[in-house]
C-alpha cells in the first residue's frame, strides 16, 4: 500500500478549556478527493486548519506524505517535539489552501496574487512567473482577468483566483475550507466546477463543505464529524446508502439538499 497523502493520528485540539477535536484518526489516500462533512461546530474546519498547520494540535500527529508536520514523535506516541520553522515550511510547501473568505491580497492584481510566491519565495524571474500565472488563471477560466484587482472581481472570480494562486505552486495536496460558503448561490457553481475538474486530474483534495450533493458526487471518501469525533469514514455510497447513521440522517435533514445525497 502506498503512503497516504495525509495521515492523522489521534489528533486532539483544545481552545482554552473547550476540546474541539477529540482524538481524530484519518488517512487521506493520494490522488483522492476527501470531503469533510459535519454540523457547524463539529470541528471539521479546525481539523483542516490543523492539516495546514494554521492551528497547532494539542496532541497527536499529522503526517504529510510520510513527513511529520509541525511535531515529530520519535518516542512513538509519548513525547512529541516541535520541528523547526524551516522544517514546517518545507513540509507545508506540499500543501495549498483555499479559504472561505478567499483572502486575496487586495493591493495586488489577480496575476500578482497568483505569481507573488513564485517570485518572492521561489525567486523566479517575473516573466517566467507571469507565464505560469497566466496558465493557472486560464485553468480556472480567468485568463482575461489577470490585471483586475480583487475588488473588481465577483466573489466566484475571487475564489477562482485564490484556487489559481494555490495551484501555481504545484502543491501535492489542496485543502478547501468551505470554499463556497461565502458566495451567492448563483456563483457557487463556477467554483464547484473548477474543483470538480481538479478532482478529475487526480490531485489530492481535502474539502470542508456543506455542498452535500457535490461531496456525494465528487468525493471518493466522506468523513463525517460530529462533536469533535470522526463518526463515519468511507466511500459516499456506503456513507449515504441506507441504513444511515442516525446523526447523519439528522444532519442531512437540516442541510437541505437531501435529494442530492439520496441520488448516490
Amino acid at each position: 500500500m502506498t503512503r497516504p497523502a495525509v495521515r492523522i493520528r489521534d489528533v486532539h485540539k483544545s481552545f482554552g478549556s473547550t476540546e474541539v477535536l477529540k482524538g481524530i484518526d484519518l488517512s487521506v489516500p493520494k490522488g483522492s478527493t476527501t470531503c469533510l462533512l459535519g454540523p457547524s461546530g463539529s470541528g471539521k474546519s479546525t481539523l483542516l486548519r490543523c492539516i495546514a498547520f494554521l492551528e497547532e494540535t494539542t496532541s497527536g500527529l499529522i503526517e504529510i506524505d510520510g513527513d511529520p508536520l509541525g511535531f515529530a514523535d520519535p518516542g512513538g506516541g509519548r513525547s512529541r517535539t516541535r520541528l523547526s520553522a524551516g522544517d514546517i515550511r518545507r513540509v507545508r510547501a506540499k500543501i495549498g489552501m483555499v479559504f472561505q473568505q478567499f483572502n486575496l491580497w487586495p493591493h495586488m492584481t489577480a496575476l500578482g496574487n497568483v505569481t507573488e510566491a513564485l517570485v518572492t519565495v521561489q525567486g523566479m524571474k517575473r516573466q517566467a512567473a507571469n507565464e505560469i500565472g497566466n496558465q493557472q488563471l486560464a485553468r480556472v477560466g480567468l485568463s482575461d482577468r489577470g490585471h483586475h484587482y480583487p475588488s473588481e472581481l465577483s466573489g466566484g472570480q475571487q475564489q477562482r483566483v485564490a484556487i489559481a494562486r494555490a495551484l501555481a505552486l504545484s502543491p501535492d495536496i489542496l485543502l478547501f475550507d468551505e470554499p463556497t460558503a461565502s458566495l451567492d448561490p448563483e456563483l457557487t457553481g463556477e467554483v464547484l466546477n473548477v474543483m470538480r475538474e481538479l478532482a478529475e486530474t487526480g490531485m489530492t483534495l481535502v474539502i470542508v463543505t456543506h455542498e452535500i450533493g457535490f461531496a456525494a458526487s465528487v468525493g471518493q471518501k466522506i468523513a463525517f464529524l460530529d462533536h469533535g469525533k470522526l463518526l463515519l469514514d468511507g466511500p459516499p455510497a456506503e456513507i449515504f446508502g441506507t441504513p444511515r447513521h442516525p446523526r447523519l440522517e439528522q444532519f442531512l435533514e437540516t442541510y437541505l439538499d437531501r435529494g442530492a445525497a439520496t441520488l448516490v
Binding site: F99, N103, P106, E116, V121, S151
Partner: protein, 214 residues
C-alpha cells in the same frame, strides 16, 4: 501689500512647508521604529516604546519645543534654531505616527497573513510584501491628517526663533500696523497648503487601491 512684502510671506510659507515636510519624514521613520518596538513581544522594546508615546503625546508641543531648545545647549549641543525646531516637531509627530501605524498593522486581516503563510512566505517576506503595504494603505488617511496637523502646529516653532509663516505675519503686522491684512494672508496660505496636502492624499488613496471598496 507690496510685492516685496508678499514675497516675504511666500518665503516664510516655503520655510513652513520645508520644515514640516522634513519633520513628517523623520517622524515617519522614527514612528516606524517605535511602532515595531511597541508591537514586539519583547518587553525590553515594547515598554520603552510605550513610555515614548505617552510622553510625547502627553506633553504640549509648545512645552516640548521650549524644553528641547533650552536643553540642547545645557548638553553642550549647539544647533541652529531650525534644527531644534525639526527635532521637536519630528519627535512629537513620531509618537502619533507610531500609533497610527500600529493601528494599521493590527488591522491587516488575519486571513491575508494566513494566505501568505500557506504559500511559504517567511515572516520577513510577509512583512515586506503583505503586511507593510496593506498597513500603509490603511494608515494613509491618518498620515495625511497628521501632515495637516503638523503643518499648522509648525506655527509654534516661532518660539525657538524660527521665522516661519506665522512669525513673518506677526513681524510684518508690527512694522506696517496692518495686522488684519497679514494674518488674513497667512491664514489663506495655510488653508491653500492644507488643501493641496489633502488633495494629494485623496489622489494617492485612489492610486493605491485599498480593495476595501465594493
Amino acid at each position: 501689500m507690496s510685492t516685496r512684502l508678499f514675497e516675504l510671506m511666500l518665503w516664510a510659507a516655503g520655510k513652513t512647508v520645508l520644515l514640516s515636510a522634513i519633520s513628517i519624514a523623520i517622524g515617519l521613520a522614527i514612528g516606524l521604529l517605535v511602532c515595531a518596538a511597541k508591537l514586539s513581544p519583547r518587553k525590553l522594546l515594547s515598554i520603552p516604546a510605550t513610555i515614548y508615546v505617552s510622553l510625547f503625546r502627553g506633553v504640549p508641543l509648545l512645552v516640548q519645543l521650549l524644553l528641547i531648545y533650552n536643553l540642547l545647549p545645557v548638553l553642550g549641543i549647539m544647533v541652529p534654531s531650525d534644527v531644534a525646531a525639526i527635532a521637536g516637531l519630528s519627535l512629537c509627530t513620531a509618537a502619533y505616527q507610531a500609533e497610527n501605524l500600529r493601528g494599521g498593522f493590527n488591522s491587516v486581516p488575519r486571513g491575508l497573513i494566513e494566505a501568505a503563510d500557506m504559500v511559504g512566505m517567511s515572516p520577513w517576506q510577509q512583512l515586506r510584501r503583505i503586511r507593510a503595504p496593506i498597513a500603509f494603505r490603511l494608515t494613509l488617511p491618518a498620515l495625511v491628517n497628521e501632515m495637516i496637523l503638523i503643518l499648522k502646529a509648525s506655527s509654534l516653532i516661532s518660539v525657538v526663533g524660527v521665522i516661519e509663516l506665522t512669525r513673518m505675519a506677526q513681524n510684518l503686522s508690527a512694522s506696517t500696523f496692518r495686522p488684519l491684512l497679514f494674518y488674513s494672508v497667512a491664514g489663506a496660505i495655510y488653508l491653500v497648503i492644507c488643501w493641496l496636502v489633502a488633495g494629494g492624499g485623496s489622489l494617492a488613496e485612489r492610486l493605491m487601491r485599498t480593495g476595501s471598496s465594493r
